[in-house]
């Protein structure tokens, strides 16, 4: 199961990288969303995937799933959500102000626009 999940994570990272290398800002944002998605799956896989037990450490439980990765993922999801929504608003505002979402045309400094 862990090996299968590792492949899934790898494919998600691949897609995310492809999207982030494109020129359109919206695709880049979707790419970052996918990247954090893959990260969360990786975090879950790294904690070890066990089936058939609750993530609770009872005194006499015969088996349990490690609860820490799940707590970490919850935190990471909230942060990724906040950052992605901020990024989307910023992209929209930048599109209004600069009139383009093409990364090639967002280069340069004040002096040589």
């Amino acid at each position: 199961m862990e090996i299968l999940m590792s492949f899934v994570v790898g494919i998600i990272f691949m897609a995310a990288t492809y999207l982030m290398l494109s020129k359109s800002l919206l695709r880049i944002i979707i790419g970052t969303g996918l990247l954090s998605h893959g990260t969360h799956l990786l975090l879950l896989t790294m904690g070890g995937l066990k089936t058939g037990a609750a993530p609770l450490l009872g005194e006499k439980a015969p088996s349990y799933t490690d609860p820490i990765p799940q707590a970490l993922i919850l935190t990471a999801i909230v942060i990724a959500f906040g950052v992605t929504s901020f990024f989307l608003v910023l992209a929209y505002r930048a599109y209004q102000e600069l009139g383009t979402d093409n990364m090639d045309r967002l280069r340069g400094t004040e002096g040589n626009d």
């Binding site: 982030m20 969360h40 904690g47 990765p69 970490l72 990471a76 910023l90 930048a94 967002l106 400094t109």
Partner: protein, 494 residues
Amino acid sequence: MINLPLLPIIIPLVSAVILIFLNKSIMASRWFSALSSLATIIASVILLQKVRVNGIQTVDLGNWQAPFGISLVSDMLSALLVLTTSIISFLCVIYSFRSIGKERESFYYYPIFQFLIVGVNGAFTTGDIFNLFVFFEVMLMSSYVLLVLGGTRIQLRESIKYILVNIISSSLFVITVAYLYSVVGSLNMAHISVRISEIGQPGIVTVIAILFLIVFGLKGGIFPLYFWLPGSYNAPPAPVLAIFGALLTKVGIYSIMRTYTLFFYHDIGFTHQILGVLSIITIIVGVIGAIGYWDIKKIIIYNIIIAVGVILYGVSVMNTDALAGSVFYLIHDMIIKAALFLLAGIVIAITGTSNLRNISGLIKRYPLLGWTFFISALALAGIPPLSGFIGKLLLVKGGFDGGSYWGAGIVLMSSLLVLFSVVKIFINGFWGIHRNYEGEEKAPVKWLLISPIILVVLSALYGLGSEAIYPYIMQAVETLMTPDIYVDAVLKER
């Protein structure tokens, strides 16, 4: 017992929340944020003395025992950095009153500023690797807002790149923590240190060490990963730039220092060698940028990169003298970079441009500004009585002792070129024919000069009083050199 290490995080947090409600009245926001920054300074001074007298202070949040819950750990290094952060943030707030502008002030500038301090102080204090990520995000989220606040074209454009780089590095941070957790099965930094020394740093842990170097290097701006820094830091106004330049990259450096002395000290020949080579290249690239540009902001921004290299070089040598030099230089650099950026902000406020070719003869009308700039330039390069000297002396001594002659030589050479790059600003901007600038009368130079002058005086005192500060620095270095002190303080029952 009071939870002293928490105070420098809680005070800015609570005042940020209150400041959101005070937003309608600008005068109230100003007074309140200045007072809360002052309270943070007082709390950090008390914390520093407590650490000096009683050793490392820890707080187990929610009363969960050390390896299980999140613990906050204030050793001497973090207490010193928290104090420096508080002082710089107070002075930047004072500077902001007359320079940041009504528009930004009424759009939540002060609350966001306090949230940034929450993130920075938290990152310096935390003793849990995932909690470090959370405080990084608090800091980054506030820095996004501060960077884009005002919404000019250049700010929007550079914010997009800055956010993108930081999202990728944050993802990488979580991935690295996941790997580390799957190898050692703990998130408490002291506990991780124990576990890694039990298994003796096999290859996989070295891979994780390099991943951490990439993550923190992206935040700190080391050689191949600094590419975003000059562009992004060019966009925001002076007080924001000062707080970014003085604090944000230093959080990355602190994290490298912490992880490379606490976790990954078993295979120094490999990991620290890579760090050493990269830091030397960072110095060289920074020097090229600092000399090449004719823009005040750009020159000082490239000086940040040089300082990053110099400090990390000391970490890579990893002996007592070099680390003491690094810590000395780290605090010196935070103070003097804030001063230089604030002074550059005054020059830009007077002349309306940051291009050196369009500025000259400022010293005729603003002698105090000129001399303050000159002293801070000397301090930056490390001319003896001022603050940069003792740090560089210890660094170079440690480098020679560690047998790394090339590295120490390049650090020495870089000082000269740093001096050249800032004196270039002085000669071109302050000497020469006096010009009249548009909007010159409106610039509140006298008020703006208060903060940089205090910083320069602090820098001079830091250099002259290094005899008195030395015991503090050595206490910090002792913890860095012998991780067991840190571990024993956190895991009490061991």
